[in-house]
């Protein structure tokens, strides 16, 4: 709890060549000078010397000064990345000396401006971990002051990209259980690694349980062989496509896109169609291969050195990353269950990944934030179940032991109807157009029907087989999905309400969809198309006392007309 004064930024700083990039005064034209304290009278004045980065007497600290170096490097990268194509583009129109002068001016302006702005940010940012609240003051004209009650802090995440890691720095995100996004997050960018670790243990370790309690220690360590699951997702396709798109984009920058296409067209002329087909197939294979390679590389960067451990005091911690290292801590008190996710490719080879259902995890749309909840990447199903059990401190994972009640046949009919109509309607349109215009479309529609109909039926049947729900100990288990099958094990105590939905068609076939709302994860977990009575009984049992008063339990009860108030 005590704020031990230490000097982040000076203690274990590696010797950095070129460190003098830190200016004493922002001597950058166009960047406003730092206004003096009067702008924010209530902020405790900091000693002016930039060397006093250590905690002042009242516990206020600054970010690490080397953020300026990071900014210089990043801006230099931007300048090089933007400057080289611009230089090439301009070199045709202007004499080389003038081009160089323009580029140099732009580079100085960008690097200087960016660094100056970062200097101001650094000067104006301070944070304090008081006994009651964690506070962060930042901003130039509009001073933002955020303070979080210490007892409400739920997550402290550390990330460091390659540059930060070389400098021994980390970015710290301190979050509460709120789901309101950015407003309840403090971001310290950057502090030294030691300071980051100190903040993490200090902020999360306030309730140290018995050290060495059962279930602590390493829960899962990455097996490099799991990389075989990386190409089985949709990532390779997306990456391959993005690669091709990127090539065209680059060609477009240099104004040769049309030329490239024409060139390709010229090559095809006078070649037999067999070769054209072979070439197209070859191109597709090459794209696929490129996608696979990219997916493998992405997997290595994301998951390298992945460790999942339970720390004393009940915090789950995930550490991973090859270049960008990430440390994600989830307080166990915040955990409401786990989700076993099986995308179809991964499922076909018998693997699954484990996501946490926890309150207060970032819910941003950011792809990087999405991975925050993943505790274990795609791994063999048995391993995933074992890890899930260890995470939940259960002898066996509810996701594997609970016998799931299958859903009524009407649910299968519904899925078949959806599948058939989603295939037949577009094909019918194509066929109708074909009858009006050209026979080719009719042939295409027929071929599509031959290929797509069995596929749709298979998927519908698979989706139906996947449906199931059940209760196991303290957990409610629900499974659904075919392209992305999820098996949710949600703590029954974590359910904060029920929503029951019934469409007109569901009513006719005696089905309904149950939704357990919860403070954690996605906020709601569904049990699709259960039998009406059985589903309601299940919901009532899962959360005792909640649904019971609103149920009618006899057969063929006439619909009461409900007296007014």
């Amino acid at each position: 709890m005590s704020d031990v004064p230490e000097a982040p930024g000076t203690s274990d700083a590696p010797v950095v060549p070129g460190a003098p990039a830190v200016p004493e005064v922002p001597a950058v034209p166009g960047v406003p000078a730092v206004p003096e304290a009067p702008a924010v009278p209530s902020v405790p004045a900091l000693p002016d010397s930039p060397d006093s980065v250590a905690a002042s007497e009242d516990g206020w600290r600054r970010l690490d000064r080397r953020t300026l170096l990071v900014t210089v490097v990043v801006m230099t990268g931007v300048v090089v990345g933007a400057g080289v194509p611009t230089g090439i583009g301009l070199s045709g129109a202007l004499p080389p000396g003038e081009v160089f002068a323009w580029l140099l001016g732009g580079a100085v302006l960008l690097i200087g401006g960016g660094t100056g702005a970062d200097y101001v940010r650094w000067r104006r940012t301070r944070y304090r971990m008081g006994p009651e609240r964690a506070e962060l003051h930042t901003g130039l004209f509009l001073v933002k002051r955020r303070s979080l009650a210490r007892e409400r802090i739920r997550t402290v995440d550390l990330t460091a990209n390659l540059l930060l890691r070389l400098l021994g720095l980390v970015k710290v995100r301190i979050g509460t259980g709120e789901q309101t996004g950015g407003e309840s997050t403090l971001e310290l960018d950057p502090v030294t690694r030691a300071e980051g670790e100190r903040l993490r243990t200090e902020l999360l370790g306030r309730a140290p349980g018995a050290a060495g309690a059962p279930g602590e220690g390493m829960l899962a360590v990455l097996d490099p062989a799991w990389i075989r699951y990386a190409p089985l997702s949709f990532v390779p396709v997306a990456l391959g496509g993005a690669g091709i798109g990127g090539l065209f984009q680059v060609a477009d920058w240099f104004g040769v896109q049309n030329r490239a296409i024409h060139w390709a067209g010229d090559q095809f002329r006078g070649i037999s169609p067999v070769w054209v087909v072979a070439l197209i197939v070859g191109l597709a294979v090459a794209t696929g291969l490129a996608g696979v390679v990219a997916a493998l590389a992405l997997w290595i960067e994301m998951w390298w050195n992945h460790r999942l451990e339970r720390e004393p005091g009940g915090t789950l911690r995930v550490r991973r990353g090859l270049f960008t290292s990430r440390s994600i801590s989830i307080e166990e008190r915040r955990l409401r269950g786990v989700e076993l996710v099986e995308p179809i490719g991964v499922r076909l080879v018998g693997a699954a990944r484990v996501d946490a259902i926890a309150t207060g995890l970032a819910q941003d749309d950011d792809a990087e934030e999405m991975d925050q909840k993943t505790l274990l990447p795609a791994a063999p199903r048995a391993v995933a179940d074992a890890v899930a059990a260890r995470i939940l401190r259960e002898p066996a994972s509810p996701t594997s032991t609970v016998r799931l009640v299958p859903h009524p046949r009407a649910a299968r009919a519904r899925r078949l109807r959806w599948a058939l109509s989603s295939v037949l309607l577009p094909l019918a349109v194509v066929a109708a157009l074909g009858l009006l215009l050209t026979d080719v479309l009719v042939v295409i529609a027929a071929a599509g029907a031959v290929v797509l109909l069995p596929l749709a039926v298979l998927m519908a049947l698979d989706a139906y087989r996947g449906l199931g729900h059940g209760l196991g100990g303290a957990y409610l288990v629900a499974r659904s999905g075919t392209v992305r099958r999820t098996t949710v094990a949600l703590q029954r105590g974590g359910v904060v309400g029920w929503t029951v939905r019934q469409s007109f068609f569901q009513r006719r076939t005696g089905l309904l969809t149950l939704t357990a709302t919860t403070a954690a994860g996605g906020g709601a977990y569904h049990v699709y198309d259960t039998a009406e009575g059985e589903g309601l009984t299940f919901a009532a049992e899962a959360v005792p006392g909640l649904l019971e008063p609103f149920l009618i339990r006899e057969r063929a009860a006439e619909r009461p007309s409900g007296p007014g108030r």
Binding site: G177, Q179, T359, Q363, V405, P406, G494, V496, G497, W498, T499, V500, R501, Q502, S503, F504, R507, T515, T517, T518, A519, A520, G522, G523, A524, A531, E532, G533, E534, G535, L536, T537, F538, V543, G545, L546, L547, P549, F550, L551, I552, R553, E554, R555, A556, A557, R559, P560, G562, P563, G564, R565
Partner: protein, 166 residues
Amino acid sequence: MATGEGTRLRPPNNSLNERAIGWWRVQWLTLTVVVAGILAVLGALIAPARAWLLIPAAALAVLGLACTALIPVWWFRVHRWEVTEEAVYVRTGFFWQEWRIAPMSRIQTVDTVRGPLEQLFRLSTVIVTTASSKGAVRIGGLDHELAAELAERLTRITQATPGDAT
């Protein structure tokens, strides 16, 4: 598998204020007038496409008027609510019927909202949120005095309940 055969949710005890029918009617009517009106004005201005615009406008106007006449009455029969000591229970919708149950112990905030139209009809909407981002329960179309009283009662009960409701 056969457990719970015949189990159903009973309708909540209370209906909304009858003025809600008028409130819904005005909403439907506004929608109809705006959509059909825009089409009609365009039809009047664009001579070549007149038939193509005026016929849909007329069709939408008829449909909208039918909705204005029928749907609010229908809704009034279906939309019901109930507050017990343990939970808030609301039923809405006809084609997509929905029952929402939020336990008192998990309620985080109780808001009363009155839009301009609702004020005209002296109605209020009570919105009860839980810790779930998807679990808000709305009771729209309550008499505004009743709504205020209800909100106060809910706030009192939830304040007396310990815990952070997650």
